[in-house]
């Protein structure tokens, strides 16, 4: 397998990155970079690290000339997943920045520790931290519950000061979304499986409305909606298909309209991606226009509610808050 990091990796270019992957020869992994400049998104890092975990450190290497900006790969911990020693020497205690390096999460307890210990590294306000905790909490949980990935989830995050956004990537090399959805939904294609996974109220664990005791089929819909409302990118890649939610036009006032059907959102899609045995989910969250989390939840909840409604109820009961 071969992964190349160009000088312009971002979620906007995610499908181009996916198309460039060479996933043949699954026993070894070679990672290369642009010779003069490398710019990567956590999405690029987590898939590289996840595949390196799968082939084993001794079969993964970073090849060719890595430019000075490749120091970022070292800071994010990518070299530790490969047999290649880092060529970079620097003071790691320098002011670092606001990033969460590549981290492997295998259990719910790992996840709780990660959220408690790592998210504060991003130095976000309480409301912004809640959004990031929420996204990581839901995405990692998805991996732990549905992917059957022996190596767990690989997570990384980065705050970008210039654009005032947080980017998050989570990847596993488990069974992929199509297999996860198969038992109850039998999607015809990998792309159909992605659409199902992003549709509110549809869970791979049941066809029953309201879900099971443990799953409601809401996780990915919530995350995609957070990206849409904050006018940010969201991307998902599994099997031979990938989907990128495009940025909502900032000239449109108010909250972007949310749709239960992901095909109605402005997006790019491909059903001809290299077949990836696993799942990669990535999201950008713009902090410039992040609304109050409660307002965001209200909007998402309304769409979720409508999506699962099969007939109108006569009367709702409300919880009793003391």
């Amino acid at each position: 397998m071969k992964i190349h990091f160009s000088n312009q990796e971002s979620l906007r270019n995610f499908l181009r990155f996916v198309a460039s992957l060479d996933l043949s020869n699954p026993a070894k992994l070679e990672i290369s970079t642009h010779e003069k400049w490398v710019t990567v998104h956590p999405a690029n890092l987590v898939i590289a690290a996840a595949l390196a975990l799968r082939v084993g450190k001794e079969h993964a290497k970073i090849t060719g000339k890595v430019p000075q900006t490749g120091i970022y790969l070292d800071r994010m911990g990518l070299y530790q997943f490969t047999q290649t020693p880092s060529p970079f020497r620097y003071n790691k205690k320098e002011p670092a920045g606001r990033f969460v390096p590549l981290t492997v999460i295998k259990t719910a307890s790992d996840q709780s520790r990660f959220i408690a210990d790592m998210v504060p590294l991003l130095h976000l306000s309480e409301d912004h931290a809640t959004v990031v905790k929420y996204i990581i909490g839901e995405l990692v949980r998805n991996v732990l519950e549905h992917s059957l990935a022996p190596n767990g989830a690989v997570v990384a995050a980065q705050y970008f000061k210039k654009t005032n956004r947080v980017s998050i990537g989570i990847c596993d090399t488990g069974i992929g979304i199509t297999k996860s959805m198969w038992r109850h939904w039998q999607p015809a294609t990998d792309l159909d499986a992605l659409f199902l996974a992003m549709t509110p109220g549809i869970s791979g664990t049941t066809r029953r409305e309201g879900g099971t005791a443990e799953n409601a089929g809401a996780g990915l819909f919530f995350i995609k909606s957070i990206a849409k409302i904050t006018r940010s990118y969201f991307a998902i890649y599994s099997g031979g298909s990938a989907y990128t939610l495009l940025k909502y036009d900032k000239r449109v006032k108010g909250f972007p309209r949310l749709y239960a059907d992901p095909r109605r959102d402005p997006h790019n899609e491909t059903r001809n991606a290299p077949a990836f045995a696993g799942t990669l989910v990535a999201v950008d969250v713009s902090l410039k226009i992040t609304p109050e989390f409660t307002a965001l939840l209200t909007s998402i909840g309304n769409v979720y509610d409508a999506a699962i409604r099969e007939r109108r109820r006569a009367k709702y009961r409300e919880p009793k808050f003391l």
Binding site: A116, T130, R141, A213, Y304, E318
Partner: protein, 105 residues
């Protein structure tokens, strides 16, 4: 009988661990509701929660005990964000209970 469950102690500052939610549901909430008792879920010190956590905590009680759960579940010190998520779960669980369809899980 009414019990108080302090979430902060068990779920931490940000409630996202569904294993904790499941354990509380099975070991504390369901047995008390089955005897028509009351359960107060105290979120003091909890800054946020995921929908998945809240779903794992209360969806089955709402589905299983219906009116009894609606009458006997109480939420204390839940901030606005957590209240919103609880309300979302209440709405879709009541919604789905009106038109139960599909195969059992």
């Amino acid at each position: 009988m009414k019990i108080v469950i302090k979430l902060r102690t068990l779920a931490g500052d940000f409630a996202e661990n569904k294993e904790v939610a499941k354990k509380l549901r099975i070991e504390k909430i369901m047995p008390v509701l089955s005897k028509n008792g009351g359960v107060v879920l105290d979120f003091a010190g909890v800054s946020g929660a995921t929908q998945s956590f809240i779903h794992a905590l209360i969806s089955d009680p709402l589905r299983e005990f219906g009116e009894v759960a609606l009458d006997n579940l109480y939420y204390k010190h839940a901030n606005e964000k957590i209240q919103k998520i609880i309300s979302i779960v209440y709405r879709y669980m009541q919604e789905s209970s009106h038109g139960e369809q599909g195969e059992p899980s």
